[in-house]
């Protein structure tokens, strides 16, 4: 579950990225956050991952108020989230397997268990055959799928994705979104920031629309045409 309650974010220099934003994504729900460039989509995700702190208001993730998470608690919170980035953020000098394994190594999971879970995650995104390869040898779409496998391998309760299909062709983008929907089906809360309206429409999921940091529309999945 993710809840924003009257959240504002003003950066140094005065730019207000989010203003009085309130909405809630229920546990196990999938929602899109959309809006033009600069609408505040990325800031919203950064606030959830505690990369940034809100200037005002309260954010609750999985029942925990982020205002109460101190500096030392940030890693623990991030270990409960799965994050997918537009630029994948893979470590190019490590194999696909090692990249996907990272959250489990960080979480102190035993090697045998890690190996089992990494293979399961890679199988889920259809890249088990590439486990020994370096990310450089994969296509952009495959690299994004490695990023997704890494985000879900630790079985996070919440999955957030920032423009995960930004560099992909439409067919691949649909496949990736299909993967997110599958994670929602097994109870993961999924929040995807995207400006790809045709793709969002195809998914028939809830859409939160931002404009200049303000919530201008909150459309339920069944009303998305």
């Amino acid at each position: 579950m993710i809840r924003f309650d009257q959240v504002s974010k003003r950066y140094e220099g005065g730019h207000e990225a989010l203003s009085q934003l309130s909405f809630e994504v229920a546990a196990g729900e999938m929602a899109f956050v959309t809006g033009h460039s600069g609408a505040g989509k990325s800031t919203l995700l950064k606030l959830i991952a505690l990369i940034e702190r809100p200037s005002h208001g309260q954010i609750v993730v999985e029942g925990q108020s982020l205002a109460k998470v101190g500096r030392g608690g940030i890693p623990k919170l991030r270990r409960r989230l799965g994050m997918v980035f537009q630029d994948h953020r893979l470590l190019m000098d490590r194999t696909v397997f090692a990249n996907v394994e990272l959250p489990l190594t960080i979480g102190g999971i035993a090697p045998a268990e890690r190996s089992r879970r990494v293979r399961a995650a890679l199988e889920k995104v259809g890249l088990l055959a590439y486990e020994r390869q370096l990310p450089d040898s994969l296509s952009t779409g495959e690299q994004q799928r490695v990023g997704i496998a890494r985000a879900i391998v630790a079985r996070p309760a919440v999955l957030i994705a920032d423009e995960p299909t930004g560099n992909l062709d439409p067919q691949l983008a649909v496949e990736i979104m299909g993967l997110f929907a599958e994670f929602q089906d097994i109870g993961t809360t999924v929040l995807v920031a995207s400006h790809d309206l045709p793709l969002i429409k195809r998914m028939h999921k809830r859409v939160v629309v931002l404009d200049h940091g303000r919530l201008v529309a909150d459309i339920p999945g069944e009303e998305v045409l």
């Binding site: 623990k76 470590l91 960080i106």
Partner: protein
């Protein structure tokens, strides 16, 4: 009776400990691989550390040997009392007897003018001069006074002063004075070595710190990813701490090897010097424990340097 299964929290703690231990192993191996991946840079850093740490070791070796030379040559400090040339053997023996009765005197040896002349003749370059004297002997009677063992410098000074006050005495030479001066000089030397070692240890710390800083800066992207994935600072800095340990350890091993090489290079001349003094000098090598302690201390130093820098760098990255 069947054993009860460990509670869930204990199992989870054991798993976490196993993971922590495994990450230590991985960090140690990965940092070593990274060092091996850029051999020239690693060699340069290790060489600088090795030279910096070998320098105080070499000075320590020098001072230790000068000290043992001083100990060997100054084992029996004596006060030479030269009587006036008009004093005869009877007066010399009389004064010797009086001195033997003193509590601060251990022994008195009487040297005749002839014995003095014979000793002089054995010294290189003096035999011609001694022969030129014909039968005339200008040397006085000499009493060699051995102060009692354990007498402090002030008591020896007092003894010397009282000997100078004797009517029959022309000159008193205190051979223990050079030993005192040497000891004072060695004290200064020891202090200088400590200061030098401290400064060079600081330099080693800065060298490791700077190398690790560059290392962290070059991997800032990876660090950013790890932190986004929930890695703690301890987790992120672990490989860099091991890098610091490796740099220190290898630098320390090189320093010990260099010190041993210096010892080896000086072994020949030192043995000749020792022979010249009849094997009394007891010149020694660096103790084995010191050669082992240097790499270990350097590893700790490397760890400290890496720890300080990584804490600072990662605070910026967080």
């Amino acid at each position: 009776m069947t054993e009860k299964a460990a509670p869930r929290s204990e199992r989870s703690q054991a798993r976490r400990f196993a993971g922590w231990r495994e990450h230590h192993g991985w960090s140690a191996a990965a940092s070593l691989r990274r060092l091996g991946g850029r051999p020239l840079g690693t060699l340069m850093t290790v060489a600088v550390l090795g030279l910096a740490l070998a320098l105080p070791l070499a000075f320590y070796l020098l001072l230790a040997n000068v000290q043992s030379m001083g100990n060997a040559l100054g084992q029996n400090p004596a006060v030479s009392v030269f009587l006036k040339t008009d004093q005869a053997g009877a007066q010399a023996n009389l004064l010797a007897g009086e001195l033997r009765g003193r509590a601060d005197v251990a022994a008195v040896t009487v040297k005749t003018p002839q014995q003095g002349l014979d000793e002089l003749a054995t010294l290189q370059g003096f035999s011609g001069a001694v022969h030129a004297l014909d039968d005339a002997n200008p040397l006085p009677w000499v009493l060699v006074v051995q102060p009692r063992t354990g007498l402090d410098a002030a008591a020896v000074d007092k003894l010397v002063e009282s000997l100078r006050g004797e009517r029959a005495v022309d000159l008193v030479q205190d051979s223990s004075q050079w030993r005192q001066r040497l000891d004072a000089l060695l004290d200064v030397g020891h202090r200088a070595v400590l200061v030098l070692a401290g400064l060079l240890a600081l330099a080693a710390l800065l060298v490791v710190g700077n190398t690790v800083r560059t290392d962290i800066a070059s991997r800032s992207e990876e660090i950013g990813v790890l932190m986004l994935l929930g890695a703690s600072r301890a987790f992120v800095r672990r490989p860099y701490l091991y890098a610091g340990i490796w740099y220190g350890l290898f630098g320390g091993v090189l320093a010990s090897l260099l010190a041993m090489a210096i010892e080896l290079a000086l072994a020949g001349p030192a043995a000749e010097l020792d022979r010249a003094y009849g094997g009394r000098l007891m010149l020694g090598a660096l103790p084995w424990w010191l050669l082992l302690a240097v790499p270990l201390a350097a590893a700790v130093l490397g760890w400290v340097g890496a720890r300080l820098v990584s804490a600072w760098q990662l605070r910026k990255a967080a």
